[in-house]
Symmetry: D4
Subunit: 232 residues, 8 copies
């Protein structure tokens, strides 16, 4: 096992320890289908390096595994997030709205909301406001517009993103979900809906990718709070 | 050339002269890609039989062709409808709303509206009320709900159908259009959106098929006006 | 937990209690993949509000769950419908034909038929009349045509919808099913068949969506029985 | 340019002069997109070898080209067949039914019928008998069943093949066509319909491939007329 | 439960008892996903009517079920065929070659071969002769060509059908199989290969549809043995 | 022609004059396939209302048309943008990097860059830095990272977005382009690449949608310059 | 059971014993879904003939099966390779780099690496060097370029192949993997990325096909070590 | 316009002048859809740098354009290659077989063959040897096997690659072509065939990508002639 300053070489994996410096975010663990030994090793190494570890798509079994080593690890069965929180917590900044079309989209929404919070932002949860009863969304729209960025999560036909896009004055990150059946094609239909949106200010991430949406939303939220480049 | 009471055998075509008795609608001509000779023959025969002819997807060239024989034929370049109106007109009945998401969907909407009118119904045109500016739709919703059935026409992401479906108390026939670009896949994306709609009371016809939507809407409109079976 | 007159906010869900006023239909529960706690809460709340609850795609396990609270709940393992019937029953009106191509399509057909009956219509069941033995359909066609609207359910190649469309004088709602194998693509092939139908008066809902077809059919049936707008 | 007994090597092409011995059919020319020089050379060489040449998917321009060399060449603009007939004609044998759903499918049907006739069979043309008016097909079914094999040609939803399959006692070769629009996907929808047919005794060739269907139908027709292996 | 001469109405199913007269083949049972009660009823009724029953895609469990009633029933775990043979057997006629590319395609091949034999034909089994070692096919080609019709079964890239098509002088029915992985798309890749074949005399049935291929092959085999129409 | 404060009803179109108040952006004209009369009317009305008009996907012909009325209109044949600039220009703010993989992607990049500039932002153009010669990108990466947000434009395999995503500390909006051939599927391949990106902080807009990417990038750029919500 | 010199006919299989002479590689066993009896028979026969057997995609159960007969058989649960090594080992030649984008791709990489070693080559393992942290790849590039051929393995968006292709001076064989979720379409997205690569010197094998990549890489490695044709 | 040693920055393009050092191949121009000015500038700059320029997918018009500046430029209308040959020619080395299934695939084959020759290899042209007449291929197989690497080019069902793969002892690079119609899906069907090949030693490039196949074949040919790494 070799190592240098920019990554930690475990043979089966090369932990990107330069990531925080380069991108402002420490490496996150995609737990799904990782072998037991590898996962434990990765949690140990990252914890040593960063003082906290954040994993997505973890199973109940993986929770048991890590808990033996780190009894303080927390597992949320809805979002499948497996996290060792840092010792000291900072105050959360800004606001990101997390909206879903239905109750069945919650597993994606909670992955997004918990990621936002881990990365230090405030998450505004607005669930089950799909277009089949649009008054539920309209009743919350003012509140949503007080966020710096909006995450719109929907399965089936995915129309929520377009409707929010037409009503919002903030960027919208759309997340298609695999919720639905038949011609939903495992979420591809909702993905196509969102990519073809007639509304402006919408961009799209992978099906069920709550984490990815939260990551980009955090980048935008930070820019809005801390400011960015003002003039070239 | 043989013939019997139920169809007229022209060799290259068998005109379904039994259709009116069987379904309540005379045969309509799908003009697209019909050979010149065939088209003229079909218009002649149908006119003899029915006293009027209604053709869809006709070209400018086909208009010229039929005009030589029937100077009274009318051609609409937007909807591509080529019609010889019947001598005596009946009063129109009921009402069918024809809604579009954008201006670019008009060619489909006019095919639908003119078909409705030819078959004896009133068409309420509500154009360019897509979800990117939903207040335009909300402003017309009361009027729309006074129809017996609603046709929702949209390209790109096709979200209009779901939004109308959530607000209406009448059946909605959704027509995806080929309007858009890139991942619209020639209208397949809008079709998938509509088929997966989370709203109820929506069913879908083929891409750009304004005629088909109008046909079914007319059946429903007639049922609403003339009544149907009350008890088994 | 907040609430207002138009929806009931349970946090994880917003029950659309305005739906009956707006659309004429009370909210229905899509049981599939709902968490146990959520489902129980939703059945309780809806029952308080409406005096009856209708759920689709329920599992045996969900039946056990609800039965503890509502011993009168009824579960049908074929259609997967889980219903608490209202105290007083109204007489059923009109008629809707529910036709299937094969025996394997029954789970969709019964979802449709039971939905029709819950919403107060008469359902005419015509099963296993697919085009591989078309005399079986022809023998029932007169009876079918005495309905106000027809639901045509078929998997594999889905040709039934076109054949009925050519013989009927009533609107046809086509339901593709996932029945078949190989190139049936989980029902997408039958969906494409129905969307491309050469017959008129046909529109299509999602794969296996017996409920959706029944909902729209009920809207049409009511229009035919109670009448709609006569003149603009 | 080299040559041996089994193929004629023209460098850019290797004419399969062994085919007649091996398969019972001389090589046929697929004219589409062949360069002018190559086409002329191929017609010349095949004519020398076989005394007749049969080409499919030929353009008007290619007709002019070959006519300079072989004034007796015949071109049919519907089927796009470009043929130099053999000097002496044999009596035609057996019978193959060629059925189409619509008038727009004729270009495929005539490719099939003319191929059948070139290869020495009788073609029974039954055009425009699609399922939207099924009485037109039923009226001809007895006649169709007197053939040794049936070719069923249809675009749009392609249901004709299944219906014929259910009524016939002879093998059915189904040809999907590119006729239609929107979700017909250039003929792929009809292809899927036919491949998933619930009726038995149906197999499928490529979209618009009238020639391929006629070839296989001819093989079957010959077996029926001349007989094949009786016992192993 | 009603009944007439042409079908037997069991409510959940309408047994096509006219099929043998109309097509020359008695109805066959597609066992997959049939409810236990229905399957038993169907076997009973068909046995009463026909004196034998042939079922495809049966499970071990279904075998146990039917065996209680009919101890003489035979089940083959490879082909999944569940058959009650007729009391008296006729001599088999003609010959049909059943070829596979690999060993993994056997489950389809045996479904085909056993169907052929049940319908009274001789099946020539030629297994594991795929194009990765083409000498294995060439060594058997003479024998194959002594059949009246050839069934070519292949998964993965499905090239076997084209190669046999180029070497055979008999019609080839191609069966794509779901054998393979990755971009085989569950058999769709092999299906596309076969549909696009550059060889002539090939047509295609659904993925894994050994029964369908055998049915059509039997029709052709019977024509070759008993003869068909000779002149129009 | 009716009108109210929130939209201007032209019958064929409803100009969303409320958009600027609601979203911070005036309505933009999608010129493609708009009828001549409609386009002229829309430019006139929007100019009256807003004092400037910005149109995308305009043709040479449409430029001539508008130039007759507004001689000051400017047309860029690469980006197809047709703009009437406002009288007074504001200083541009912030910075958005616009990167392309190849030279052939310029038509999309210029649509994005010109949109950014019209909406008041600075665009940093970094063209032809695709991954086949990655040193070209690395040489510019510091400069790119000084932007508030990055637009990554690529056709063919679209790998540029992932590579930039791995190197950047700012949000990346990925634009797949239709550049390529064969299995690029008109840009769908690049779209899939970008949606599946293993790098974080990437979201995706429609194929060739430079305008959409620029719109969202402008929203983010404004947040970074003017600041957003700091604490909930 | 017959047999000749070029293949061994087991009825259910025809072992290609001519393969080594013809291609330089002995037949390899694709274990997946082979019946127990068949697998044992094949291992026995191949071992008699070749003195070693190499099987891919073997299950734990198949390992137990073969171990009874050949206690020396070795099974690797990551790569699923089940091998009976030859008695005498030769020195390994040349070098082939095996690179992966992530840790989850290891099961494919180890299938490739072990195949390379079985066929007598040296494998250089370079794992987890995906483009989200490209410095990890750049740090190893010199080493990689000292191979004769490179295998690039990646799931999700599959960008690794293009980046290596741009940096390498050796042929690259790209292997898409099924690793990922949502719009990865089971590996089809990565496959499309690699097929559309803007970099040169890249060709692609099937999803997860580590064996196939290793086979071709071995052919190239041998050519590089032993030399090939120098002049025509 | 800036510049450094590793690339030449033209603003609209960054010529990769480091490529020859890095990969052994100078930059090649993909002419298709390049603007006139850009193309001329690129040819000029590359000629200055390299003394020769090789362009693919050039149009007749682009030939005229470059000819004005470089009268010695050569254009081949079949392969669409536009080349300024270097002053001094080197002797060609090794051998690469270029095989096609049909005559229609020649445009791809000549792109490959001419690329091979430009890069200094010998090309063995073996055209029109598709599997519908496999004796044509068998007759040339010995000759083909005397090459260091084989390019197999085929449209339609693309079976040629598998058949050659089974007979060859050299690596095979397969090129699917867009030749065919209907379900060939513009070459995607042939691509799928080749990717799923049951034969070993085959990898695949993009549809119609003769250049890409030739590039990789040249890398392999050079390794075979000049040798590579012998031991790690």
């Amino acid at each position: 096992m070799s190592s240098d300053e920019k990554f930690l070489d475990l043979g089966f994996a090369k932990l990107d320890t330069d990531r925080k410096r380069r991108t402002g975010f420490a490496e996150v663990v995609f737990c799904q289908s990782k072998a037991d030994d590898y996962l434990v090793e990765i949690y140990k190494r990252l914890y040593e390096k960063e003082g906290s570890v954040f994993g997505t798509r973890a199973s109940e079994h993986q929770y048991e595994l890590i808990k033996e080593l780190f009894p303080e690890v927390i597992y949320d069965p809805v979002s499948k997030i497996l996290v060792i929180e840092p010792k000291e917590k900072k105050e959360r900044i800004g606001q990101i709205a997390v909206c879903t079309a239905g109750t069945a989209d919650l597993f994606v929404a909670e992955e997004a909301a918990k990621t936002i919070e881990y990365f230090g932002g405030n998450a505004l949860r607005v669930y089950d406001v799909g277009v089949s009863g649009i008054h539920r969304l309209l009743a919350r729209m003012d509140e949503i517009n007080k966020s710096n960025v909006i995450i719109a999560i929907a399965g089936m036909e995915g129309a929520l993103a377009s409707v929010i896009g037409g009503l919002a004055d903030k960027p919208v990150i759309a997340v298609p979900t695999s919720v639905g059946y038949g011609a939903n094609l495992g979420g591809v239909s909702a993905l196509l809906t969102m990519i073809n949106s007639c509304a402006n200010g919408i961009s799209v991430v992978n099906i069920d990718n709550g984490y990815g949406a939260a990551y980009m939303a955090t980048q935008i939220n930070r820019l809005a709070v801390f400011g960015g480049v003002r003039n070239e």
